[in-house]
Symmetry: C2
Subunit: 298 residues, 2 copies
């Protein structure tokens, strides 16, 4: 299949012409979401369907490499390259409101995270896949002697004076809710390798070894956090994620690459594109929540 | 919904007349599976649809109790009451072939088990449900310092001279395969509380505290295993399951009971009936495999 990541609409295998027509139609109606996606991912120049089709073909082209390097290259280019995600920019300095926004919205992300990881286990017999997901769920959600990521997140929020109870009673922002709905749909309807590509690619956001792929920004400025104004709870949360996401994201991509020859690569790419589209918006929700907190609207 | 556990065919809510018609039709065609189910669960006397309908209504009746006691009463009556499952009878003495058959077929059961437990996690936000399933998966499948149930099973098989490799390369018997297919379908399509009822009710097979519900047989004769002919690997496997299934089954039923008021009870009952139907046949596959081994056909 080919996919429109904005609408989550699916087209025939390799049917990049129909996909281009869809985008041109949306652009004609001045739909800002489709235009923004085109600008960010394909071209900033106005194109007709004949001009767009080779760009989509090129987007899906593995360029002789595997799915692993395709995903890393795509992710770096959209999130951490010359035109990084605004959240990455914000994280280059210490801003307590951004971190508070992060804490609130990310709680809902992690509640969905465990549901996606367990869906993967439920859909495969491969022991290495199951064990990988099990360990990921333990680190992120359940804990095992050590505090899981979700507890460190709630500790960070509490350090800022936002109680666990308050977060749990919060309705996530629209972008977060939309993202969760799409991830839930992927977990329910897609195959294990597609869910894996959709979800674990997102852990590349914090991977610190992506310079060779063109990353120009770290997830956060390690230096900026080396000061006494930053609460210990913040450091504990960020450092833990920083270390575990390095291993998590690459190990998952290695597993996907290993099994990918037995699966439809285009469907794996679709799942990646569908997921990173809502992830982009979800990261904006972290900023939006931070601004609400700064303006005393939360 | 009402369900035919044999065909997994669904009828309208409370439509026990249509369900009765279905069974009468099958009985007229002398379908042995439907007749056997009727004999085991409703009546040994030939009945018309008018006679059968109140029996089905009665089967689904909670009798003023909750879903927990309904499940326990049903399970005990079908598996461990006056007319127990043949596998229970076999297990009252030590029979090494039966245990070898158990080891071979149960490997495939446990491979599906972890898929069902993780499907439950993937479909709920309730933390107590997720934690329960996580701990169950660790005990049964992944291990955590201690050997998981599946490793103890493979140890038992090895003790009998059946290698892990051989088991993993075995095609499960038809009854086992059919059961796994149905459990997989339930894990994919049903809600979390229905999957929970479908799967964890099965752990009642080894629960040692069911005398008050009318259980007349233990899962296995503890006394028979108190002898030197029984390999240590067999004792380790049986005793571990014996202890963990006690806690597992009742804790799961308590969780189901706690949340059941927010869900359609009849759908939970359907899931239970659909699952125990294939479980009955699956336990027969353990005997069948044991006989194959005894006759050197495996």
């Amino acid at each position: 299949m080919a996919i429109c990541p904005v609408c989550n609409l699916k087209f025939g295998n390799n049917d990049f012409l129909a996909l281009s027509e869809h985008f041109i139609g949306k652009a004609k109606d001045s739909d800002p979401l489709h235009v923004m996606w085109l600008n960010r991912n394909l071209t900033k120049t106005k194109a007709d369907k004949k001009g767009l089709e080779p760009l989509f073909r090129n987007l899906y082209d593995l360029n002789g490499g595997g799915i692993k390097s395709w995903i890393i290259n795509r992710f770096v280019s959209e999130y951490r390259g010359n035109n990084p995600h605004p959240f990455i920019i914000k994280m280059q300095d210490y801003n307590k409101y951004i971190l508070q926004g992060y804490a609130v919205e990310h709680y809902f992300f992690l509640k969905q995270w465990v549901r996606s990881c367990s869906a993967i286990i439920s859909k495969t017999d491969y022991n290495d896949v199951q064990t990988y997901e099990m360990e990921n769920m333990v680190t992120e959600y359940f804990g095992n002697g050590k505090k899981p990521h979700i507890e460190l997140l709630l500790d960070m929020a509490e350090g800022f004076g936002i109680s666990r109870k308050k977060i749990m009673e919060t309705k996530p922002l629209k972008n977060t809710e939309n993202a969760i709905n799409r991830w839930r749909e992927i977990a329910q309807n897609n195959g294990w390798i597609e869910i894996m590509a959709a979800m674990h690619s997102l852990e590349l956001i914090a991977n610190s070894a992506l310079r060779p792929y063109g990353a120009r920004y770290d997830y956060f400025n390690l230096g900026a956090f080396d000061n006494n104004n930053v609460p210990e709870t913040v450091k504990a949360f960020l450092m833990e994620g920083y270390h575990s996401d390095n291993a998590h994201s690459i190990e998952a991509l290695n597993i996907i690459e290993k099994y990918s020859r037995d699966y439809n690569i285009e469907n794996i790419q679709d799942a990646y594109l569908a997921s990173t589209y809502v992830f982009y918006n979800y990261l904006e929700a972290r900023i939006e929540r931070g601004e609400m907190i700064e303006n005393k609207q939360y």
